[in-house]
Symmetry: none
DNA sequence: TTTAATCCTTAGAATTTCCTTAGAAAATGC
DNA sequence: GCATTTTCTAAGGAAATTCTAAGGATTAAA
């Protein structure tokens, strides 16, 4: 990990740099905000740490400036005292975290890690399958029909997912048993029937239109009507 | 630095003045609150130090008075006894810090420096996350629900922070383990469950509405209902 | 060092889900 | 219609998952 430290107290810089290096964190530093902004614009850092009070651009203005320039590197601001200041609520300049001096080195380290992770974190992709007025969110495991949320157990959800992924096609019970239950051989079990039943109770019964239809002697289909 | 000292004990004034002068701090002083207010209104000070019990305007009223007049100079109140009520009142009235006699001179000096710095500093923003009737102050590590303060241990706080940062989204235990505990591998541990339990006891049990909900087979969500 | 607070593991209790069983209902073919 | 086959459904025990209490380990503070 590589960070930029903006701080004018020489002593603080020295200690921090040493401590961070010991944890395999590379540290560039600037003694004032202007130099810091300059460096932030021309290098890639995982995190920027800046004291609020430094010569030149202060921590707030630095953050604002960087954000305007499109730099999204996480910024951690340091301040001198634990102010009980009820005047300003919220962090509007775009800084990502905040630490009050004196702080524990461990705490700083933890925040650094959290921040560097956040910077790289790709936005959570939404995996959503739909069928008519119905949608299922594969990430949050939510199932919604006509705007109403319906709770499904993991197995029910898996079965429903299989249906919705193969909507309109007739699916045999053997196929379902294999794909959803991993049962490859002939079996006397009727789990599939039982679970189709569970699903119907939750997903079709409370509604006018049914979507799971049985095809006698063959299996089931997910379709309108 | 230049300060105003309001104190009626002549001896204390003398020692203080001498001590402060040695540290390059200029001291004006007043023997009673009325005179002190007068001086504060007509001069520029970095910090005002006032004993709570002085003739005329007492420390509280003095502070209130100055704040009403728009004077934002940091005020440090001194009191003879360690009364928590006084402290609360003092802060409500707009005082910035508080020191109980007897105090170490060194401590006074440190607070003075901190306060004078704050006076020049831009207002410190609080990093506050909210969810419904709940708020957590990342700076002061305070957690408040329905106006009641709840003590959380650091780990509990971190977990709660993760929940509140991802409110409404279903979060898996693996994700929590990774992001809050830094556990990246499969593990048999149930720390997450245990800590969700701790959190619930403090944060949900005493209240009507629950906010942490388990999604069986998946994880947890922070949401209303 | 002692004390206290926090953290984490363990193990059993409680809850939820899963799957089997068995009989009821429905569809099919004669 | 009646026997046969297939599907549906209710019930309950097994299995898995989650919850919770208790105590030992670790860390920080006095």
């Amino acid at each position: 990990m590589k960070i930029l430290l903006i701080e004018d107290e020489e002593k603080a810089v020295k200690t921090l740099k040493k401590g961070l290096n010991e944890h395999n964190i590379e540290v560039d530093f600037a003694f004032d905000g202007d130099k810091g902004a300059e460096m932030a614009l021309h290098n890639e850092y995982d995190v920027i740490i800046s004291d609020i009070i430094v010569p030149g651009l202060n921590g707030f203005d630095l953050t604002k400036h960087l954000r305007q320039k499109g730099v999204k590197t996480p910024v951690l601001l340091l301040t001198a005292l634990n102010a009980t200041d009820d005047k300003v609520l919220g962090l509007e300049v775009g800084a990502d975290d905040y630490l009050t001096k004196p702080y524990e080195f461990k705490e700083l380290l933890a925040r650094l890690k959290a921040l560097s992770r956040r910077g790289k974190e790709p936005p959570v992709p939404k995996l959503i399958l739909t069928f008519g007025d119905t949608e299922m969110n594969l990430t949050s495991k939510e199932f919604i029909r006509e705007g109403k949320k319906i709770e499904l157990t993991p197995k029910e959800f898996a079965l429903m997912e299989y249906f919705i992924r193969h909507q309109g096609r007739v699916i045999s019970k053997a196929e379902i048993a294999e794909k959803v239950w991993d049962i490859n051989f002939e079996t006397t079990s009727n789990v599939v029937e039982v679970y189709v039943n569970y699903l119907r109770n939750k997903v079709d019964k409370p509604f006018e239109k049914k979507m799971i239809h049985t095809v006698f002697g063959v299996g089931y289909v997910l379709k309108d009507e």
